[in-house]
Amino acid sequence: MSAHPIIRVQHVVKSFGKVTAVNDVSFDVRAAEIFAFLGPNGAGKTTTIKMLTTLLHPTSGALELDGLDPTKHQTEVRRRFGVVFQDPSLDSELTAWENMDIHGVLYHVPRQIRRERSETLLTMFELWDRRADLVKTFSGGMKRRLEIARGLLHTPKVLFLDEPTLGLDPQSRNQMWTLVRNLNKAEGVTVFLTTHYMDEADRVADRIAVIDHGRIVATGSSAELKQQTGTDSLEAAFLKLTGTTIRDESATAADQMRQVSRVWRR
């Protein structure tokens, strides 16, 4: 198991019409590691996650998750991962418990196990006391924690987290990463995360792939990246690798809608 990577991406290209979002990307993710995709908005991080989670088909190249091709064995692959999308996918009109329970049914988790594991996860993510409350009454951090707990309910081998700390305050971010790290240790779940925060990638990830304009420019541990570039911080390494600092690109229409939805969904 340790020899064969849990995720293997080889020469994957994804184009939308004339725009190439992911341009000949190759990398491996080892089982039970925390792997980070670090790059600015629009670098191709979310597109890669969507391909690995069976929501998009690559234009060309090969994908593999736990030895299976997501484009061919959709259902089998879906059983093997949990995912927290960039945009919330909870039902805010239902309670935390109900959100967990529906997920368990959708993933065919037997009732007894569903209940036990929901209790364990909600307790671990400090949401057990609020299990009977509607999700719309939750803070941003609580919602994100609930999404992660839900994504773990069916004991996946891989957990995808797409910009999980976007819009959270520093305290919630800290708490979340501690929980994710503990879980990674306790259950051996592989964590694939994307972020554009340097400090998070530096602190949390075992290995980092730096992605910019749809291409991977370097892969390695934070120490290796610094060594490779002869710099003493990940920030400096990133600058050297991409020629830019991480920029906040002008907000797209989707970003603006995200803002609106955050205000709306209080």
């Binding site: 259902t75 945009d87 049914v105 989707a254």
Partner: protein
């Protein structure tokens, strides 16, 4: 089976919890019932057609079911970007089960809302021909609900922008209502209008409900039900197909 059930239950639970929305959605049917029902009543009576309230109550019920069913399906547009829909789209279950669960849930909510309006019409003075007719009428109402819930699923899967919602309301839902004979009799219409009313599925729905409840049907209840069943099967298949093509 449990997947369909749990998604159906989700829609029903959410409906029962949204008290404010339930009351708010009574607004427009109440207006039609109150203003048109009593406002046009004297003219209708003078034309020798009897009590207008008796005639239009089934129409208002049909309208409520149409609006509720279409609305729940179109809420999917929002759900797609910022909601629960994505969670179901990456789940290891066939899309068909998800579509059926959602559609049946939306249809059930529409029937419940129809029942609420039915109660209101009773208070306003509507009297069905017999008590036995009521459960029969609800079978027809359930058919209407499934038809438009499935249609809404198809539309919600096909358009991406929220602006599309306004288009659908103006160019589909309102015409479906106004062409259905919900508020006027189908007898003696100009040819063009008559032709339009005949391609509107709601026409057969309202006619069926009216036929069962007050014994006044333009096409006959049997034909109404046959058309509704056929359109229902067609729309569910269409909705399932569109939903299976949905990209997250």
């Amino acid at each position: 089976m449990s997947v369909i059930y749990v998604l159906w239950l989700r829609e029903v639970k959410k409906y029962l919890r949204s008290r404010v929305q339930i009351v708010a959605s009574l607004g427009s049917p109440l207006m039609y019932l109150g203003v048109l029902g009593f406002g046009l009543g004297p003219v209708f009576q003078r034309a020798g057609e009897g009590k207008y309230l008796q005639f239009m109550a089934p129409g208002v019920i049909g309208m409520t079911v149409l609006f509720t069913a279409m609305f729940s399906g179109i809420a999917m547009l929002w759900d797609r970007q910022f909601g629960f829909l994505k969670e179901t789209l990456v789940a290891p279950v066939p899309r068909l089960l998800i579509m059926v669960g959602r559609t049946l849930g939306g249809a059930t909510v529409a029937v419940l809302q129809g029942a609420l309006i039915f109660a209101v019409t009773l208070i306003a003075g509507f009297r069905p021909a017999s008590l036995l007719a009521v459960p029969l009428a609800f079978l027809v109402i359930a058919l209407i609900a499934v038809i438009f819930s499935a249609l809404a699923t198809a539309i919600g899967s096909s358009i991406k922008e929220m602006q599309g919602f306004q288009m659908v309301m103006n160019f589909l839902v309102m015409p479906l209502f106004f062409l259905s004979g919900a508020i006027y009799p189908l007898e003696g219409l100009p040819k063009v209008l008559a032709a339009f009313t005949r391609v509107d599925p709601l026409t057969y729905g309202v006619d069926g409900v009216r036929g069962v409840l007050i014994g006044r049907a333009h096409f006959g209840v049997a034909l109404d039900v046959a058309v509704l069943l056929a359109v229902g099967v067609l729309f569910v298949l269409f909705g399932a197909w569109r939903f299976s093509k949905l990209e997250a």
